[in-house]
């Protein structure tokens, strides 16, 4: 897509150059060289080459803070996504953290003949099915487990906790052995070709299980299915985040919590919060746990701050600054931070391990918290 088309598609021509985006942007606040406003103006004033070559477009966390606040409704997040796709064609790309291993994995998953064994984590006490109404989409958790164990993040705990919770309320979810990564990061870094392959594969696989409802514990998978797959493939099953699913079950009286004497705060993942507007269900579930105190951070809900980096790209000292600020805010609220996104957990945990340490904040996943409140925490 040409830059002119990107301007038209994202209605960037309505930009009044008011600067509200840049004034809102968590990156601009720490990185003086980055400005969403000037990025848009480059496109408007015909500085196409400079724009595509600008590393800044890969720094954007696509957190939607500026998009939601823009008085002219310029969709900067979309603008960045299109610009990245265009830059990729021109040969530019962002700095992939982790040596590109995660994006390579994603591309490999586009291959329909790929054979995976994804269910190694399903221990005997977890009840799953091959076919059924309800499917649990695990996403990248098995890979994250391998990659991020060294920073103390056991991502598969999320998957195990989710299955345990579902089992407790009488559900034996389908978990697919050959599920693919949802393709979120490919989509947001401009590799639409591989994204399309993955989308089609995943939807085909889910159809094969007969599932009517798909539950996600990862907000990125959830948003990708909910908003981005539909451009490429039709879906005839319901999509729901675990927090929404549980909030409903609480209303139906199907969940019994034990007591947890703990103050916690909650990190709204950008995809779940601003992208999809899911603010209340996770709060409702957390607040339903007896003895727990949910204390909001200075920036929460619509104003929540991103965990500092996205799509494993351009994670740098500025990301770390954002993460540390966020952790300080969390600490001011409570000793434990709950997040509903495995990536938030990884990014914030990583910042905790940095060379200049900060006050310890316990970072816990939402499903893990819920499982332990239901007395399911200590099982292997």
């Amino acid at each position: 897509m040409s830059l002119e088309n990107i301007v038209n598609e994202t209605k960037a021509y309505y930009c009044l150059e008011c600067g509200k985006c840049t004034g809102s942007c968590p990156i601009s606040r720490v990185n003086k060289g980055y400005s969403p406003r000037l990025t848009v103006e480059k496109a408007l004033l015909g500085f196409d080459k400079e724009l595509l070559a600008d590393g800044g477009i890969w720094s954007c966390m696509t957190c939607n803070l500026c998009k939601d606040r823009c008085p002219s409704n310029v969709d900067y997040t979309k603008f960045i996504r299109y610009a990245r796709a265009e830059a990729l064609k021109t040969g530019y790309t962002g700095n992939c953290t982790h040596g590109g291993v995660l994006s390579s994995l994603m591309r490999i998953m586009g291959n329909p003949n790929l054979k995976q064994d994804r269910l190694g984590w399903v221990s005997d006490n977890l009840k799953i099915s091959e076919k059924g109404d309800i499917l649990y989409f695990t996403g990248c958790l098995p890979y994250f487990e391998t990659l991020f164990k060294d920073i103390g993040v056991n991502s598969l705990d999320i998957a195990r906790s989710t299955v345990k919770i579902l089992n407790r309320i009488g559900i034996k979810p389908v978990v697919m052995p050959d599920e693919r990564c949802c393709g979120h990061d490919l989509f947001w870094t401009g590799d639409l070709e591989n994204f399309e392959k993955i989308a089609k594969l995943n939807v085909g696989l889910i159809r094969g299980t007969g599932a009517k409802k798909v539950i996600f514990s990862c907000p990125e998978c959830y948003r990708t299915f909910k908003q981005d797959y539909s451009e490429y493939v039709d879906m005839d099953f319901e999509l729901v985040h675990i927090s929404e699913f549980l909030a409903e079950k609480i209303d139906e009286g199907k969940i019994d919590f034990g007591s947890l004497e703990e103050d916690v705060t909650y990190q709204d993942p950008c995809r779940l919060g601003r992208h999809l507007g899911v603010y209340d269900p996770p709060r409702k579930v957390i607040s339903s746990i007896q003895g727990i105190g949910l204390i909001e951070m200075e920036h929460s809900r619509e104003r929540s701050i991103c965990c500092g980096t996205s799509t494993w790209t351009n994670c740098d000292r500025f990301s770390e600054q954002i993460q540390k600020e966020r952790l300080k805010e969390a600490k001011a609220a409570a000793d434990t931070l709950i997040t509903a996104c495995p990536k938030c957990q990884i990014h914030l945990s990583c910042a905790m391990k940095s060379k200049t340490p900060i006050d310890e904040v316990k970072i816990k996943d939402f499903s893990v918290l819920v499982a332990s409140a239901m007395g399911l925490g200590d099982d292997p």
């Binding site: 209605k11 021509y13 309505y14 930009c15 150059e17 000037l38 103006e41 408007l44 004033l45 002219s72």
Partner: protein
Amino acid sequence: MEEKEIRIGVFICHCGTNIGGSVDVPAVVEYAKHLPNVVHAERNLYTCADDGLTAIKNAIKQHKLNRVIVASCTPRTHEPLFRSTCEEAGLNKYLFEFVNIREHCSWVHMKDTEGATEKTKELVRMGVARATLLEPQEEMKIDVEQSAMVIGGGIAGITAAKTLANQGFDVYLVEKEAVLGGMLRNLYRLFPTGEDSLDSLQPSIAAVEGHEKIKVFSSCELKEVKGYIGNFDVTLLREGKEVNFKVGTIIVATGAMEFEPKGHYGYGKYDHVITQMQLEKLLKDGQLKKSDSVVMIQCVGAKGEEVSYCSRICCMVAIKNAMLIKEINPDADIHILHNDIQAYGAEYEELYNKAREMGIRFIKYTPESPPCVTMDGEKLKVEVYNELFGEQFMLGTDLVVLSTPLVQHQGGVEISKLLRVPLGKDKFFFEAHVKLRPVDFATDGIFLCGTAHGPAEVAESVSQALAAASGAGIPLSRGFVQIEAISVKVDLEACIGCGFCVEMCPYQALDMVDGKLEIIEALCKGCGTCVATCPTGALEQRHYQNNQIISQIKSIFHPVIE
């Protein structure tokens, strides 16, 4: 004045606790009873309530009062009420005196009853001193000629004339050009309807020209206007001959003109540097050459040394014309260089967005480093520092259009002298009060509208014209004007004809005719400026006579108790 015993009645109001709470009212009543000429004093819980008013009327009859004083709140709200109460009891309303003991006393000395009571006594004493010298006055009623003159036949003048005529009044519409229509004749299409300017104007022109109540004097010059509200004598010059008529009110709708940007951005030096008005004409005549690239520069001559104001309409004129060029040539590259876009209100903001959508680009420049227009071979070159992007831009272009402010023209300046109505610092006509009297002059009976008042677009001019017609129509429909009897009188024996007072009068109520002062009572507002100016004391203001005021002041220092 008839020599007769002065009999003053004093009514002191408690105003609930507003006065009674911090003033010892019974003590003030006792005090008042002993002041000179006071034959009756009483207090009321609320003098303004029905029983209070009845008490006044009864006392006037019973005690044969010929002066009444109410000491209570403010004349701003209550003087008319007490004056009419006196009239109902057969007392001339100018024999009523108001003493404000609430705003001027009880409210400001709330915690000091003793002090407040003493001050109230002093205020009442002063009131008595003045009331003793009050004289009855008769108010003047002036008949109003049932017609109006509208000066200027642009859209404002046309609208004002039509409205007044439709209300049944005779209207004289005076235009210096041969045809009606004014500035709109020179424009191409109008926002927001997209109508052709002249076409859209034609029905209004036809309505005015065919109206039985309207006499159109085109190609006419105003020579002289004499008189005052209700009775203006007008002399026009038509083909060198004088035409005379009489009108009750006058509306000034003389319009404005485009500032000529001589010496700005190569105007007058390069052929393809033109003004918005010239662009309108090119568009209208279909003479605009295909322009692949156009640059418009805003605020040329405005918001600066030559013209200090923002001309209000130029941003939208530029945007509208840019869009019209885009309609003719969708691929045209158009840049508008501005120093803040004035897209006020709902429709303009929408149009501004539409222009962006059409691909018109806006660059904010700083007045400190304005754009620079030069010739680069065959093409014009505009250099501009984009303040918000932080870079110098070079724009090669076929056409540079300068948006210049509307300014007053010589004709307007002359009308101002002729009618003796003021111009402001911006040279536009200056209204009586910027906020609340936007279409009135301080001089009664003369009104203004349209761009004579300042830059305005069509709907704003039309609204102003209707407003001016409202003002001008009120005295016409009433048939008379009543003048409060506070005008100035002259003792011609004492007047030395120096004329200082004539210069000082803000209402043109004074005139020196053959060395003798003439007072146009209808115009006098009773401000007293002339009285204070007069070196010989020849002037005296009704109801605020020197002796009344002086005795009031003296009484502060000379407490006289009978």
